[in-house]
Symmetry: C2
């Protein structure tokens, strides 16, 4: 059979692939909801059954403290590299339900899109991996051009602790040469994209305590310290009016993007005014002067306040001076800023700003490393060539301002690079009502992944 028979098989069976995906999307595997615990397991079993049916080996569920992992492999391509395919079968909650045009767990096609919770994040993209493997196995009589391991988790939307522990403790069982993750998006429709950088983060809480108990602001206003006022004094000194972080030495280890990378970003189809109007909707964009939006969101550290619990937040007026107040503050990090050192600098600076009368505790809630993946390796070439064949365009290399902790875990514990080759689109409504997957991208993604495996070999 020719190299093209797998591609032909995928084309001929595309409608069935979509029907199978719809069956998977009907399972409401919302990992954060205890009442969907059985549904989450049902989705894991659905994926495992299909991996077995298409001819993968050692298919099994790996139990964790939370939802199970699905594992499979096919390691018969002697002398060839091993690819670790990663995806997740859990989904975000669907609320608010009233904003969905069609029900979130009744997959519905409209205008060439498949609408459902999980359509693109990540059931649809994970299914591309499975269907590419099926196409290759069927067209080549049970033989794959490269070695393959598959690991699919069910806790990506709730922190991914199970897979993180497994990768850390049983890395040998996943030993591979490169990881393939399809959980990102294309920069623009029809534009093949590899994501080669992720920001890291530290998520913290600043807790300020003043008086022993809540006090009445009439009786004690003017004598008792106010933890909220102290917090505003501290936080207002963390960034300047332009958005520059003022924490001493915070970005000492920052590695600026290369000239080539910056030049490539400038040539991307991106209009700041359109972005402001359609995506953000504020009167102005904010952030450090002298950097473009893409630089600011991909390659600069940022600091955000997410909420300030404490005191009185009901309707109307209550005149309390609260005994304590908290601010939830996170920072995004870029290579080579490391979370622990960044946290210590942040904490030390905050503690240097403590006003009179209050005590302050700074806590690290969780963290993740920033990642930049070298584009100078044969797997990147295998991926870009594959997508060039399918889309007829050169791949753009982008970064993401967000964090995908598993990529750092693969780098740290498996010592392998990750290809983030995603086929979502910027308007796919991830984590929002009316999530969708553009069906042409589903099919083009399968074609790209088949060619990628062939190129890797």
């Amino acid at each position: 059979m020719s190299n093209n028979s797998a591609l032909e098989f995928a084309t001929e069976n595309g409608a069935r692939f979509v029907d199978e995906l719809k069956a998977l999307l009907r399972i409401p595997s919302v990992s954060t909801s205890p009442e969907h615990k059985d549904d989450v397991r049902r989705a894991a079993e659905f994926v495992a059954a299909e991996l077995k049916r298409i001819g993968m080996d050692h298919v099994r569920l790996i139990e964790t403290d939370g939802h199970p992992l699905v594992y499979a492999d096919h390691l018969h391509a002697v002398g060839k590299p091993t690819v670790l395919c990663y995806g997740h079968y859990d989904v975000q909650p669907a609320e608010p339900l009233e904003e969905w045009i069609s029900p979130p767990f009744e997959p519905t096609e409209r205008d060439g899109n498949l609408y459902a919770r999980g359509a693109v994040d990540d059931k649809g993209q994970m299914w591309m991996h499975v269907k590419a493997l099926e196409s290759l196995l069927t067209a080549h009589g049970g033989v794959l051009p490269a070695n393959v391991r598959v690991i699919v988790e069910g806790e990506e939307e709730v922190g991914g602790e199970g897979i993180a522990a497994f990768v850390k403790e049983h890395g040998d069982a996943l030993q591979s040469d490169v990881a393939l993750v399809s959980d990102t998006e294309m920069f623009a429709p029809g534009l093949p994209t590899l994501c080669v950088g992720l920001r890291g983060m530290i998520y913290t809480e600043i807790e300020v305590r003043g008086a022993r108990t809540d006090l009445h602001s009439g009786m004690y206003g003017g004598a008792a310290p106010n933890p909220f006022f102290a917090l505003t004094q501290i936080i207002a000194q963390l960034k300047d009016a332009d958005g520059r972080i003022l924490i001493p030495h915070f970005a000492d280890e920052l590695q600026a993007p290369t000239e080539d990378e910056l030049k490539a970003w400038k040539s991307l189809p991106f209009d700041e005014e359109h972005y402001r109007e359609t995506e953000v909707g504020s009167s102005d964009l904010t952030g450090e002067p002298g950097f473009s939006v893409l630089e600011r969101t991909w390659a600069r550290p940022t600091l955000e306040v997410h909420g300030m619990p404490g005191g009185f937040i009901g309707a109307g007026a209550k005149t309390v001076i609260p005994a304590k107040a908290v601010a939830k503050v996170s920072m995004r990090l870029v290579p080579d800023m490391m979370p622990q050192k960044s946290f210590e600098r942040f904490r030390d600076y905050v503690l240097s700003l403590v006003p009179k009368g209050v005590s302050v505790e700074v806590r690290l809630i969780h963290s993740g490393d920033p990642i930049v993946i070298s584009t100078d390796n044969p797997y990147v070439r295998a991926a870009t060539d594959a997508m060039q064949s399918v889309f007829g365009k050169d791949t753009v290399f982008v970064r993401s301002g967000g964090s995908i902790p598993i990529v750092g875990d693969f780098e740290r514990h498996l010592k392998i690079p990750t290809l983030m080759m995603g086929f979502g689109l910027p308007d796919d409504n991830l984590h929002a009502p009316n999530e969708k997957f553009h069906l042409q991208n589903f099919h083009d993604g399968i074609q790209s992944i088949i060619r990628f495996f062939q190129n890797v070999a």
Copy 2:
């Protein structure tokens, strides 16, 4: 009968007075709780029935949009002044219940104190008025030395809208020469006290809006405005590090206390370190340098943040850049700062501080005038002489940092001064678990009020 027979009657019937008060305290007239609506009315009816029994005229419930007012009068002292006795029969919620040593609605005597919700605030103090009137009426054959009106409200703990509307619209029905309010405390045990000043207030909300919807801080951090950060930037500029309010012209109309008043305050038994340790419990007291604690809490404007609703306030980490955030900010005012003008200056200053990318709305939630009552009138002399007879000490004149809006309403609409002659103690646990009334103060208060009526005549 002698002038002293009313005092003797009160002494002889003191135990019965306490028993009656206990019956009133057993009614959980929590005005903020819809489930206690009937209890609140029951308390009103209890008070009305007693006013009728002791011989007051025109006793009636006056309906409002909320809980009823209780009215009574006795206007037969031709040529004598009319005293308006004010009190309230509603109470604060009793929660947290587990912190009460004896149940809040089962009045219990321990160590010379009567413990119950409302014991001192204000059922016990209001009952002193009723029992003083009973003693005078009984001892003098149904005659009172002065004219008396009684108005008792059931919404003091929830804003007092009903009585405010009544005073404004039907002021004639309450026409009097002086109001007597027993809802404050003595500066120290055994030290007769008149409160002659209250701070006013404006309670506001600052609402900041940035992006159209909540955004993910990974994707948008560095480009989208953060309403919480904007709020901290604004609020940190409202006061300096020492607590001085920075709003331009905010205190232009402020009238400093007289030299005599300041001198009197200095002679009060007050230890700042003891106050810090026992009442506030913070490491330091805060507030404007150069002013004593009493000056700062009684005679200086202050600004407090009570809470900052919006964003993510749950446990753990959610990386949202909220579309909006709110700060609840109130300011205490001192004579002659007026609420409307103060609000306008505050609002204009806040709007001058708005950072890039956000829009800000400043709302006035409610307000109250600051009050200082002249001590140069015969009613003050009648009160201080009365308390001198009972306590054997000269009365001290203090202010309160809090606000009692009805006092401003009496001044504005009835054009009469108010005597705030209270018999609570600083450790009576108002609005807190284990509220109490020192029983000796209950009896001494009745004696003082009887003598006050006699002196007024």
